[in-house]
C-alpha cells in the first residue's frame, strides 16, 4: 500500500543533507510551511541554499534558520521587507549570499525544473542589472534573457487536504508557490491541515497530484 503520510517530524526531515537546496513555499505568511521550517531548524542540516519569495521575517522560521548560520545562500525576489532584520544583518556582514530573481522568473524557473525544461528565454529582466552576464537572444523583435531551471533537493510546502497517495489541495491564496515547488524538488514534503481517506478528494480538484509529493505530515491549523 502506498502511504506517504509520515508519523512524525523526524521522519519528515529524514535525509535532508548539508548543502541541500531547499525550496520553501508560501507568500507572506499564507501557505508557509511553518512547522516544516521549524523541523528543519531542529534537524540540523547546514550550508543550505534556500529558495523562497522572501528572506524571512522577525527572528522565527526562515529568519531563525538564517540567524543560526545554516543558510549559505538565499534565492528570492523580495529580500528586503519591513521585518527582514536577520537577513539584513547577515547580508551586511557578508555572511549570506543573495541571488535576486524577478518573482515570475523565480516561479517559471522552478516550473521549468519540474517540467524537464533546462532553460528558457524570457523578456523579463532584459536590459536590467538582474540580467547582467546572461545570454540574450531576440525573438520576434523582443530581446530576451536565457534563464535556467531551478531544481530543489527538497521542497517544503503547505497544503490544505491530502490523501495517502500525496494528492494535495490548497486554501485560497495559500496555493502560491507551493504547487510549483512541489514539482521542482527531488523530495517534496507537505505539511497539511487534513489527511483524507483515499478517493475523497475529487480528481477534478486535485491541484498537486501525488506524483510530485513524497511525504505528507499532518499538522492541523491551531
Amino acid at each position: 500500500m502506498i502511504n506517504k503520510t509520515v508519523r512524525d517530524m523526524a521522519e519528515a526531515m529524514q535525509g535532508i543533507a548539508d548543502g541541500a537546496t531547499v525550496l520553501v513555499g508560501g507568500f507572506g505568511s499564507v501557505g508557509q510551511p511553518d512547522a516544516l521550517i521549524d523541523g528543519l531548524i531542529e534537524q540540523g542540516a547546514k550550508d543550505l541554499t534556500v529558495v523562497a519569495n522572501n528572506a524571512g521575517n522577525g527572528r522565527v522560521g526562515l529568519a531563525r534558520l538564517m540567524e543560526l548560520g545554516r543558510v549559505r545562500r538565499i534565492i528570492c525576489s523580495f529580500p528586503r521587507s519591513a521585518g527582514s532584520v536577520v537577513f539584513e544583518e547577515l547580508y551586511k556582514a557578508g555572511k549570506i549570499e543573495l541571488e535576486i530573481v524577478p518573482q515570475g522568473t523565480l516561479a517559471e524557473r522552478m516550473r521549468a525544473a519540474g517540467a524537464g525544461v533546462p532553460a528558457f528565454y524570457t523578456p523579463t529582466g532584459y536590459g536590467t542589472l538582474l540580467a547582467e552576464g546572461k545570454p540574450t537572444a531576440e525573438f520576434n523583435g523582443k530581446p530576451c534573457v536565457l534563464e535556467h531551471a531551478l531544481p530543489g533537493d527538497v521542497a517544503l510546502v503547505q497544503a490544505h487536504k491530502a490523501d495517502r497517495w500525496g494528492n494535495l489541495t490548497y486554501r485560497r491564496s495559500g496555493r502560491n508557490f507551493n504547487p510549483v515547488m512541489a514539482m521542482a524538488a527531488a523530495i517534496t514534503i507537505a505539511q497539511v491541515d487534513m489527511v483524507e481517506p483515499l478517493g475523497t478528494l475529487d480528481p477534478e480538484e486535485v491541484v498537486t497530484p501525488g506524483i510530485f509529493v513524497d511525504r505528507v505530515l499532518l499538522h492541523p491549523v491551531a
Binding site: 505568511s29 502560491n176 507551493n178
Partner: protein, 217 residues
Amino acid sequence: MSETSFTPLSRKDMARRVAQDIPEGWYVNLGIGIPTLVADFVPAEREVVFHSENGVLGMGPAPAPDDADPWLINAGKQQVTLLRGGAYVHHADSFAMIRGGHLDLCVLGAFEVAENGDIANWATSANDTAPAVGGAMDLAAGAKRLWVVMEHTTKEGHPKLVRRCGYPLTAMRAVRRVYTNLAVLDVTEQGFAVVDMAPGLSFDDLQARTDAPLRKA
C-alpha cells in the same frame, strides 16, 4: 518664468484619474502604493477584474473586519476578498497571465520614467545590493500596457520624468502613460506628450518641473 496658481492632485485624485481611464472588462494588476488605491475608484457597476501576483484573479476590496480571511491576501500582503467569478491559481500560472500578455493593464509606481518608456522602480542605486524586485520586472515587461502613477517630482523637487533613467532599470521601453499629481502624459516615439494638466497649471510650469522635453499631445 512666471508661476501660475494651481492645485496638484492628491494621491486619491491621482488614483481616481487613473480609474477613469480603465474600461469595463479589462484585466488589471495594481502595484503597491497609489496604484492600489485605483481599485477604490472604479465604479461598482463597471466590471474590472483585478489580478494579484500571488495567484488571485478577481480580487475584491478589503474585507469587513468581521469577515477577514487570513488565507486571502494580495501581493502587498493585505487582506482582500474574492469577487464572484474569481479564481485561485498557483504562482507559475499567475505569472503566465502576466508574462504571457494576458493582462490588459498594469499600473505601477516608479522612481523615474524616461522619455523612451524606460522605467526605474525597484532600486534607488546600483550600490543598493539587496533591493527587492518582487514582480515588478515581470509586470513591466509582460502586461499589454504599463501605466505609471507617481508624484511628478521627488520630495526634494527633482524631476522624475527624465531624459534617461539614473536609477537601475526595471524594464526598457515599457511605459505607455504616466499619471502624476501635475499631469497625464503619453510616452510616444517623440517622447512625452502632455494629455492633461492639473487645473491652473501652465505647460511651461510643467516643463519647468520635468527633465525631459515635453510636447502637447
